[in-house]
Every structure is written in C-alpha cells, then in structure tokens.
C-alpha cells in the first residue's frame, strides 16, 4: 500500500529517504512503467521517492565531448534535442520510437534503462553508444556500463530501493563517426519492437576503426553482436563486409517465438536486413562510402 510520496531536492535527500524506507521506499521518475506495475501488484512500494525535481537532473549537457543525461530527462527531451540529434542521432531515433507522445513526454530515458526490458529502445541505443550509468548509493558513487546493468529479463542489477542512477553519460560522436537505428514494428506508435538494432561506427580512410552493433530482443538484455563487430574492425567499408557482419550478427542472436510479435525464424531472417540497413546508414553519416 502506498503511504507517502516524497519529493527530495537533492540526491543526498533522496538517498536518505530510500534508507529511511528500509526497502519499502522506491525511486520514481516518469512512472509510466512503475505505476502500472504497482497497480498490477507486480511491484510493491510503501513510499515513492520522486527524482524529477532535483536540480540538474532534467538536463542534457555536453562537457569535454561527454554527453550527460540526468535521471529526469524524458524521451521527448532526448528525441527533440539538437545536441542528441547531431552527436548521437541513434539515441534521438530510439527515444522517438517509444510508446506514444504522451508516454514520451513523461517516461525518462534512465527509467527505460533501469526497468531492464530486453528491447527497451533507448537502452539499446545507449549500449551502442558505450554509455555508462552514474550510480549513487550510501556507500558512494560508481560508474557501471549500461550493458552490464541487466540481470535477466526485466531484471536490473540495480536496486531501486537503495540505489539511484543519477546520470547516464557517453562520448559525443565525432565527425568520422556515425550511428543509426532500425526498428521492426507492427505499427508506428504504442508497439514494442519485433526487433531493434542500434549501431555506431567510427571510420578512417573509408575503413572501420571500430563498430558497435547492438540488437534486441534476442537475449535477456540488449545484445552486442561482438562477432560482427570483430569482422568490421579494421575492415574496408564495403557492402560485402557489411553483409558478412550482418550474417554474423544473426548467428549470435537468440530470439524467442512470440505469438504476438513474430516467430523466432522470422526474426532471425529479418535481423541481418536491419543490421545491414543500420550499418549502411551509419556509414553515410560518418562520411563513408560503400
């Protein structure tokens, strides 16, 4: 039973509210997932600690080529941010594809990560960007790669009754770098992805310096197509190499069959198409040429 709703003004206050709750207090930001889970009895909380009024957490900043998103930054803020569109377009596209306008106006990007759904759009893009979460707990502050936050389907390694992700940060893309997002969906809003793919590439002299390729839902969390990334590292930018990488990505994917969102076989057949399209688009944005 929910008994209190607290609105702290500092991260320290928020932490102390959580501590005072002794496991019954829980962090809330946008609440678009949490409130449904509370209503359905999937989660319980006696106290909700609202992070959205803590100064600074609503901001998207760029400092020393590092982009930082506060815990209260919404999907629409990210989708509409010039900075994100220019220096991390994969995230802008991913954030734009979540839910509906109303949900994007409320739901936070950090919440999308902490809720730990396998194909959370923003999280998939953040993993491709090499994003790291700033996690604050009574014992101090630590930095954990977003990729390492998953403990299983719908399970985060984080404990929202004692820890707070205050920010997520990742390097702004440089001129020779590009990103892209591909999503297979049954309609243009209010639809979970059948597949989503985020890629970031870095080019030099029309060769791949490196590539990060992330795909979902093909595992418990966003899955790095490491074999595909290895194929591209140091390779020429060419359709052949991109197609080889796409095939390798497929070999590393393990999607499930869903009666609602497509069979495993179908997803496996379409996945390389999305990887190829994403790589082609990212290469173009990085100034490359297939």
């Amino acid at each position: 039973m929910l008994q209190d709703y607290l609105i702290p003004e500092t991260v320290e206050q928020a932490l102390s509210h959580l501590q005072g709750g002794k496991g019954r207090a829980r962090v809330v930001a946008g609440g678009t997932d949490l409130l449904l889970d509370l209503a359905n009895g999937k989660k319980e909380a006696g106290v909700l600690v609202d992070l959205t009024r803590i100064p600074g957490l609503q901001e998207i900043t760029l400092e020393d080529d590092l982009i930082r998103l506060g815990a209260a930054v919404t999907h629409n803020q990210v989708a509409k941010s010039k900075l994100i569109q220019e220096k991390a377009s994969v995230l802008a596209r991913a954030a734009r594809s979540v839910g509906s306008l109303q949900i994007r106006n409320t739901a936070t990007v950090v919440g999308n990560v902490v809720n730990a759904q396998p194909a959370a759009d923003a999280a998939v893009a953040l993993v491709a960007l090499g994003a790291v979460a700033e996690v604050v707990s009574p014992s101090g502050k630590e930095y954990i790669p977003v990729e390492k936050l998953y403990a299983g389907v719908g399970k985060s390694v984080l404990d929202s009754t004692s820890q707070i992700v205050t920010r997520i940060q990742f390097p702004a893309l440089l001129k020779n770098q590009g990103s892209a997002y591909e999503r297979l969906e049954q309609r243009k809003a209010l639809a979970l992805p059948m597949l989503n793919v985020a890629v970031v590439v870095s080019l030099a002299d029309n060769r791949f310096q490196w590539a990060r390729i992330v795909m979902a839902p093909v595992g418990p969390g966003p899955v790095r197509a490491t074999e595909a990334e290895a194929i591209l590292t140091g390779a020429d930018v060419s359709l052949g190499n991109i197609e080889n990488a796409a095939a390798a990505a497929r070999a590393q994917a393990n999607p499930r069959s869903s009666a609602l969102r497509g069979s495993r076989e179908y997803r496996l057949e379409v996945l390389p198409v999305l990887v190829r399209r994403a790589l082609e688009a990212a290469v173009v944005r990085a100034g490359g040429n297939c």
């Binding site: 049954q186 609602l260 069979s263």
Partner: protein, 779 residues
C-alpha cells in the same frame, strides 16, 4: 441543383462544445446516489459444465450487496442482439442465451456477478466465489466445428452440425449453365480474421429498479427501443414499465451494441433488483474484447465466370463464418454478405450459399459493414485476377460490369441510383491510376503498387429486418422547434444532421432546433442506429414530421395572412407570401398597427398567436423506409518492404456516392474513419486464440489498431447521385468506408509484388513468407 439553407452545409456539430470540453455525459461516467458497482466472474474455459458454484463467502464479505448466478436470475432465453425484436416473419430469431447458464461456451462467458459498494470490493468478492468446472471438448474453427466428431455447442441446430439458424441461399438465373457458357472461370477460397470494433467507450449500463417495479437503464446501446423490448422479455416486465436511454451520449458502437451492450444491461438490472439499489456495470477493455461481439471471421469462396470480352456471366459465392459461442447476428451477417456480394456487378447467373457456425470463441455479431467487407475483399481480389487473365485494365473490367440504375438484381428493392462509375473515375484521377506499372525502379527492395476495390451497401435493413421510424416535431410557443427521435447519437453526428433536416424543411435556422434522442420515455419508437440507416431512415421520419408541422403552420398562417396556404413559404422563421416584396411589412419589428395589411409573419408571432387561441403545431412522422444503395470505389497506394514483409499504406482515395451529403464534413469523417478501420482489417488487426481458446489479442496494446501515426493520406471524395427514396436524396454512409478497403489494399500489394494474398491481415511475417515462397518458386 436546388439550393438549400442548412442541408449540405458543414455546420459545426451541435455536440462539439460538450465533447471538446469533456462535459458530455456517457454511461461510463454516469452515477446515481447510493449506486453500487457490479463486476462479472467469467469462464476461464472455452467449454465447460459448471458442476458446482458456491457464493457464500462472497456474500459474507462486508460491502457486498448482491451476488447473482444462473440459480437466482431469470431463466428466460434470449439473444443479446436486436435480432430478437426485428426478425421478419416467417423467420424466427435464434434464442440461445441466458444471463447466466450452467454451461459456459467460451473463455469470458458469464458465470456470476457481484454488486458491492466499491469496484475493489466487488473484485475481491469475485475471488471468493468457488466454481467447480467439468471441462468439455471445444472447437474454434468453423470448418472443424461442422465435422461429425466436433462437440455440439447448442442443441438447436436444424440445418446441420453446429450451423446457426437458417442457411442463406440466394439464387438468380442458372449458375451451373452460366459457368458452362463462360470462357474463363476463376475459383478461390479466402480466409478472414476475427476482428473487433474497439469503440472508444466499453460496454456499460447503469440500472435502477424502483419500489413500484419501474426499471430505468442508462446504457451504451445503439438501439434503446429494441433494447427495452429485450429487457422486458428477460425480466417479464411490461415494456411500458421500462425506460432505456443513453445519457445521452455513446462512445461509439460500430455495431457492437445493436440490442444489448453485450450483457451489461441485464446484469446491471439483475444486480439492482437483488440489491435494491442502483448498479453500474462497466466492462474493462479486456472484458469488452473477450466478451462482446466480434466481427465474423471464417471462409469465403468466390467462383467468377466471364466471357472473353470481359462480360461477367456467372458468380457463385459461398461463406462459412465463425459465429462463436452464441448466435447474436449470426443469421443476418451471412445474409448481408451474400446479398451485397451479388449486388455490385450485373451478372445474369448468380448464387449464394452461406451460414455461420457455432464455435467456442467470443460470439460474433454486427460490426461496421456487417458481412459486406468479408464479401468484398474476396470478390474484388478475384475480379482483379480476372482482369489479369483477360489482359484488361481492372478499371475497364469493372466499368464494363458494374450495376446500373434499373438493372435487375437479387435485392428485393429496385436499384434507383448509382454513382459508382463517377466514383471510379474520380478516385482513379485522385490516386493517379495512370502511374500504375511505372512505380518501381528495377532492383528496388521497397515496391510500390496501386489497387482498387469497389462495393455497395444498404441504407437501412428493410426488408431484411423490421425497420421503421417515428419522429415528432413540436413548434414551441416562441416559434422555436423541438424534435424528438428515438435514435441515439453514437458519435456519427446524428444529433446535428437530424436538426439540419428539420431546420431545412421548416425554413428556420439550425439554432432554433433542439433535439431529444435515444430515450424510450421521451421519444417515439425507433429501431435505432444500425445498418447505415440513421440519417436515411430516421431522417425520413424527421422530414415527414417537419413537413406535417409545416403544413399546420402554413394552414394557420393562411388564415392569419388571408391567403391560401399554397402561396406561403417559410425562410429564416419568416412566413411570407411568395411573389410579394418583403421589407415593407411590419413583421419582425414588433410594431404592427391594428388593421394593417400583413404580407408576412414571423413563426414566433404566429406560434404565440396560436397559443393564445389554444393551439400548437405538432408534426408527426411515421415512416417505413425504402432502401437505397450507396456506392464506393477505393484506390490504395502501398509500399511493400520486400526484405521485411511490411506493408505500408501510403494513400487512399475513397470516392463515395452518398446521394446527398447533408453535412459534408461529417460525411468525410465517416469515410475517413471507415477507411482507417479497413486499413487495420487489411494489414494488422486480428484476434488469434491459443490452443485452449484464450484470445491472445485482448487489449489496446496487443490488438493492432492503426494509430494516428499510421494513418495514410486519405482523399475522401463525395459523389452525389441523388436517390429519390432518401431525405434530400441522401443514402447511407456509416459503414461504407470499411467495405472495399481491404480489397483495394490487397490488390495494391499484388500490383507491387506479384504475390496474391488469400488471407488477411497481411502482417509482416505472412507477407515475408509469401514473398520468400514466390522467390524460391521462380528461381
């Protein structure tokens, strides 16, 4: 063309301000003092016998005021749909439902209900009801259900295993001989999905039972008067002691509540009787999905024969529809499927054989188009195939064969108008038909295509069903107009368009007219809002009532102005002598000198003059509508992503012959909404069941309605081939937007890819598989 003052104008809807500001009242937000909240316990099994049911624990829970099951509610058999009130003799309606029964026949079937002081308590009480079930064998597919080994779902099937009611047979000419005379015959079977209306407001009812036995029910029904008749039969109460009304708005319908709102009304009444307090029952969205009528899925076979020159010569149409667990409209739907399917083209030899079949899924009933979309996706696909076989342009082939006014057809009323040729011509121009065939570059992975689909429909249900209307126009003592019509406004603009008709006939401004509607106590009997009939049929009664009132006004005015009534006309509430100059008269100035010669009089002055002499003008309209065919041609442009199988509908040009658009913006809204439902029908919407008969698509999240972001560009084109039978020439438009859409889209997908789909929806995976198979077979 005649010029009108109010008719044909896109006046702002009279309910716009209320709805835009959120003050309009719907059943789901209607409350009464002391009202209780009803909740329903539903079957988890597709087919089971209730061995025992124990409600004692639920009854003991503090705050619970009533618990009802099959043991303590009327055992009067009925049909939730209005078919039980309007089936034309000698046909008899199929009655196969009780409020609660000792056998459950689909997942979601009603087992018990509780009324409590809060929704939460009612839900808790449901969990305390102990039910022991004995599972029975279940069947979900109509063809499976007709096999001898299938379980009998009801005992009353006379025409064959699990066949609901009568088999519909429509013969015309000699098909067997006809096919022998054809140069080319194509026969194909199509599979159709179960889809849902997904009207905005879920099923809801609030019932109040007074100590003197009078019952009042506020509900979401599309047909308050027939619903009153059904409730009267279930509860054994005279019609006159029951009042059914909308409060006054209804959040959509699309056919889902022609008759009862699923079982919201009888359950609310049963609980209110037991509790002695008003009870509100609102279905959750999940309940609405699983326990209120769907569209019929099933199988339709088209066999079309043509001569070498493209003349259609024989058509044989067959349908086996999935009726679900109870009849509802399962006898009428296959009838409309056949009748409309045979009515589009001029073919001398035709036959139809169709029926519904009981299965253990949610009952299927009325949904916008009522069998017609199920006919036209298959027929328009086969017509396209025929054009290809003949090497003819699909438009040319259609123009050669479509019905013309006066042609013989299978329907029991004449075809008095058709603007279909003009619809085809204007739609083709809008879509750019000539671009067809040059839309794609060689090697492209995303392929564009353009397709067409045409059709017709009805403007009410006569003579297939009982169908009549009454209206009363009362001129108030100040000259303003009160109109009473028993039809509801389910969001289609009835409460604006009917006053427009009255205002036009009476020669008054729209602001002078007010309307009472959707209430059995304060309006005369009307069948209600279904079958694209509201404007056409109820409108005809409104016109008749207004003409009656006008006749009385002019007769009285003739005495007043000392001329014969034939010389009088009314405009802007001023009654004047035709041919006499206006302007010199004192009317309207309020300062008429005694004895001054009058050449005009305001309705206001005249009505009050009459009032002071003990007279009021009251017009009555009592009509049985004729019927008239609306016509339509849809053109769709699609883009198929051949690497993922996704079909994107880019643009739809939807040309509709509506006879006369009384309010063009409302007509366009009807067309656009229908087109969008048709897009969903073609590419994304379906309710699929698991092996136990549980529906997988039972929420707005899972059921894939197109969203605002999926809407293609829609060009709604109004064609006006005036029909002599309709008010100001109008015909029905409520359902037509949905009828030809899936066929047009499927034909466009074929045009893009060369792959023909015999099953909808054309979802990503289905299209991907078909394209892969086609590629493998050609390599």
């Amino acid at each position: 063309m005649k010029n009108y003052n109010v008719v044909g104008q896109s006046v702002r809807r009279l309910d716009a301000a209320e709805k835009a500001t959120g003050t309009a009242v719907f059943s789901s937000d209607f409350t009464l003092p002391g009202m209780l909240y009803g909740k329903v316990l539903r079957s988890p099994y597709a087919h089971a016998r209730i061995v025992s049911i124990d409600t004692t624990e639920a009854e003991k829970l503090p705050g619970v005021k009533a618990v009802v099951t099959y043991k303590n509610t009327p055992r009067e058999i009925f049909n939730t749909s209005a078919t039980m009130t309007f089936t034309v003799p000698a046909l008899k309606p199929v009655l196969d439902q009780y409020i609660f029964d000792s056998v459950v026949r689909y997942v979601g079937d009603e087992v018990a209900a509780v009324a409590a002081v809060s929704e939460k308590l009612a839900e808790e009480a449901l969990k305390l009801i102990k039910v022991e079930y004995e599972e029975l064998p279940a069947v979900f597919d109509p063809l499976e259900a007709m096999k001898p080994e299938a379980p009998d779902i009801h005992a009353n099937c006379k025409e064959g295993k699990n066949i609901i009611g009568e088999i519909i047979k429509i013969p015309m000419g000699d098909v067997e001989k006809g096919f022998k005379e054809c140069d080319l015959v194509i026969e194909k079977r199509f599979k159709l999905p179960i889809v849902k209306q997904v009207q905005m407001e879920t099923q809801a009812a609030v019932a109040q039972v007074e100590v003197n036995g009078k019952i009042t029910v506020w509900s979401t029904t599309q047909t308050p008067h027939p619903t009153r008749m059904i409730l009267a039969k279930i509860f054994g109460v005279p019609n006159s002691k029951i009042r059914v009304l909308n409060p006054p708005y209804v959040g959509g319908g699309f056919g889902v509540r022609i008759g009862l709102s699923a079982k919201a009304e009888p359950i609310a009444v049963a609980l209110a009787m037991q509790a002695g307090k008003p009870v509100r029952v609102i279905y959750s969205r999940e309940e609405d999905f699983m326990a209120s009528d769907t569209r019929h899925g099933g199988y339709v076979t088209v066999k079309l024969g043509a001569k070498k020159d493209g003349t259609f010569h024989a058509l044989d149409l067959k349908a086996a529809l999935n009726g679900g667990a109870y009849c509802s409209f399962s006898t009428e739907t296959p009838g409309v499927l056949g009748a409309m399917g045979l009515a589009v083209y001029r073919i001398p030899n035709q036959s139809y054989y169709g029926h519904s079949v009981y299965t253990n899924v949610t009952p299927a009933g009325a949904m916008r188009g009522f069998g017609n979309p199920q006919a036209m996706f298959p027929i328009e696909s086969v017509v396209d195939m025929m054009a290809e076989e003949l090497g003819m342009d699909p438009l040319e082939l259609r123009l050669k064969n479509i019905m013309r006014a006066g042609d013989p057809w299978c329907l029991p009323y004449p075809c008095q108008s058709t603007g279909l040729a003009e619809c085809i011509e204007r739609g083709a121009k809008s879509i750019g038909w000539e671009r067809r065939g040059s839309l794609n570059q060689p090697g492209a992975k995303k392929l564009r295509g353009i397709g067409v689909g045409v059709g017709t429909h009805v403007s009410n249900s006569w003579p297939f069903c009982v169908d009549y209307d009454n209206a009363i126009v009362t001129v108030q003592q100040d000259g303003s107009i009160h109109l009473a019509s028993g039809v509801p406004d389910i969001g289609t603009g009835t409460s604006t368009a009917l006053p427009q008709l009255a205002a036009e006939v009476l020669g008054v401004g729209l602001e002078e007219v007010s309307l009472t509607f959707g209430d059995t106590l304060s309006t005369p009997f009307d069948i209600g809002s279904h079958a694209s009939r509201t404007l056409y049929a109820a409108g005809t009664a409104v016109v008749a009532a207004a003409e009656d009132a006008k006749r009385q006004i002019l007769e009285y005015a003739a005495d007043f102005l000392k001329v014969s009534p034939e010389r009088l006309e009314i405009k802007d509430s001023l009654i004047y002598i035709t041919g006499r100059e206006l302007g010199e008269d004192c009317a309207g100035t309020g300062v008429c000198k005694t004895g001054e010669e009058r050449i005009s009089v305001t309705l206001q002055e005249l009505a009050y003059h009459a009032h002071l002499r003990n007279k009021q003008f009251i017009g009555v309209g009592r009509i049985v509508p004729e019927n008239a065919p609306p016509w339509h041609a849809h053109f769709a442009e699609v883009e198929v992503d051949t690497e993922t199988g996704q079909v994107k509908v880019i643009r739809v040009a939807a040309a509709h012959d509506v006879g006369k658009a009384i309010n063009p913006v409302i007509v366009e809204g009807q067309i656009e909404g229908g087109v969008l439902q048709g897009v969903g029908y073609a590419v994304s919407e379906e309710i699929v069941h698991d092996a136990k008969g549980r529906p997988l698509h039972n929420s707005l999240h899972k059921y894939l309605l197109p969203t605002a972001e999926d809407i293609p560009e829609i060009d709604a084109i109004i064609v006006e081939a005036s029909d002599p039978s309709g008010p100001f020439g109008a015909k029905g438009v409520g359902e037509t937007g949905l009828v030809p859409t899936a066929g047009a889209i499927a034909n466009a997908v074929y045009n893009a890819t060369g792959v023909r789909f015999y099953e909808i929806p054309m979802t990503e995976e289905k299209v991907f598989r078909a394209l892969s198979a086609a590629k493998n077979s050609t390599c």
